[in-house]
Amino acid sequence: MNHLDFKTAFEQLTPSLLEALGLVVTLALLSFVLALTIGMLVALGRLSKVRSLQVVLIAFLEIVRGTPLLVQLLYVYYVLPEIISYIVGIWVPGYHMNISAFTASIIGLGVNYGCYLSEVFRSSIQAIDKGQLEAAKALGYTSRKAMWHIVIPQSIRIALPPLGNYFNAMLKDTSLCAFITLGEIILKTQAYASQTFLTIESYTIAALIYLIVSIPLGQAIRIMERRLRRHV
């Protein structure tokens, strides 16, 4: 084994990795907003009394949770545009859909995490005592108003720490987007390592960049958890 050259690797690789980190954080934030939206809608749908909606949502959840995130990303990036192009092509000859790696990543991560977040939302809503809903109803709230004004604000407090942990996990799962050509941390590291053969140095630096972000984030979530427990 050659002697390690962290100095060179650090100088050459770090600037581009920090740039990639910016992309990763943006991607994670946008995907998480999508995941939160999907998660809340799916949770409310599953808590509704509409039987057919529940069946559809459960099927959707089983499919998403039963397949790897990587497969879903590949599917959104390579397969979905083909299918849509084929269908739209029936009416619009020669139509071809293009999707950027970034958009595909947002959709893939957002849908996948949305399914897991829906369980967080659902269980946190169910954790709120039924008396809260009744008290609000007795004061003249409709079920919907009681849900949005009284029950969900309380359930969010319960949900916040697990939501934070999922965000932290998502930040690291963005690395899978390297497989669909997104120029994020791993793709850049791979490129650099294969050019310079500084394999140990490159991947170590990449790992450290993830750690630098995720360890403080984990700490922040623990602090938030303690503060939120005060008035529950």
């Binding site: 009744e134 008290a135 109803k137 007795a138 004061l139 003249g140 309380q154 008035h231």
Partner: protein, 250 residues
């Protein structure tokens, strides 16, 4: 002859095979205080919860003044039920204060969300009602920072702030430590003296006798006996009433 505030006609409630209420008729005049007593499982809490449609009756009608919650045997309209419920305040055994809101916020929430009162005014109203239950100095406390008795008084203030025409008390003191029962009963007593129309489900026989104008004894989903408190407690007529009063040591 005073105005009729609550009218209940041929009320039935069934949970699956189990018929909890087997036909109840009752009318309550303005300012009247009615105490409902009876053994557990007699349907008294279910009955009380039907008065504001927290339980939807299987059949029968409930009217607040001249407004029905729903036409008999028809499905209730949720918006109509919600708006009529504003006329009926309810206090629960387990308080059901919102734990994430302060005492003041608990009282003003419905004023803002439901009554659409501007925030500044809602705060003033909420403060007035907290004052009324003797908790003006606790307005910024969260429920977790209040004793059970204080929490229940905030819950009473929260219901009163909506200026209901009728108040329902569902075993309002049953979850309290014995030394905290008195302060809650005192608030209810004052409310009674001010002429509020009230229906109380209670285990406090002494209090029922003191505050109520009429005692209703329920057993097996029906009203077995009712009467003016002194006669009811000293000279019950129905054997089941006698047996019950003996058991509770009256």
């Amino acid at each position: 002859m005073s105005k009729i505030m609550v009218t209940i006609q041929d009320l039935h409630k069934r949970f699956g095979e189990n018929e909890i209420l087997k036909g109840i008729d009752l009318s309550i005049s303005q300012g009247e205080k009615v105490a409902i007593i009876g053994p557990s499982g007699s349907g008294k809490s279910t009955f009380l919860r039907c008065i504001n449609y927290l339980e939807q009756p299987t059949s029968g009608t409930v009217m607040i003044e001249d407004k029905k919650f729903a036409e008999p045997n028809q499905k209730a309209n949720e918006k109509h039920v919600a708006s009529l419920r504003q006329e009926v305040g309810m206090v629960f055994q387990s308080f059901n204060l919102y734990p994430h809101k302060t005492a003041l916020e608990n009282v003003m929430a419905a004023l803002i969300t439901i009554r659409k009162i501007p925030k500044g005014q809602a705060i003033k109203i909420a403060e007035t009602f907290l004052q009324k239950v003797g908790l003006a100095n606790r307005k910024d406390h969260y429920p977790s920072q209040l004793s059970g008795g204080q929490q229940q008084r905030v819950a009473i203030a929260r219901a009163l702030a909506m200026e209901p025409k009728v108040m329902l008390f569902d075993e309002a003191t049953s979850a309290l430590d014995p030394q905290l029962v008195g302060e809650v009963l005192q608030v209810i007593r004052e409310l009674a003296n001010e002429g509020m129309t009230m229906v109380l489900v209670t285990h406090e026989m002494k209090f029922a006798r003191e505050v109520a104008d009429r005692i209703i004894f329920m057993d097996g989903g029906v009203i077995v006996e009712e009467g003016e408190p002194d006669t009811f407690f000293t000279n019950p007529k129905h054997p089941r009433t006698k047996e019950f009063l003996q058991q509770v040591g009256n």
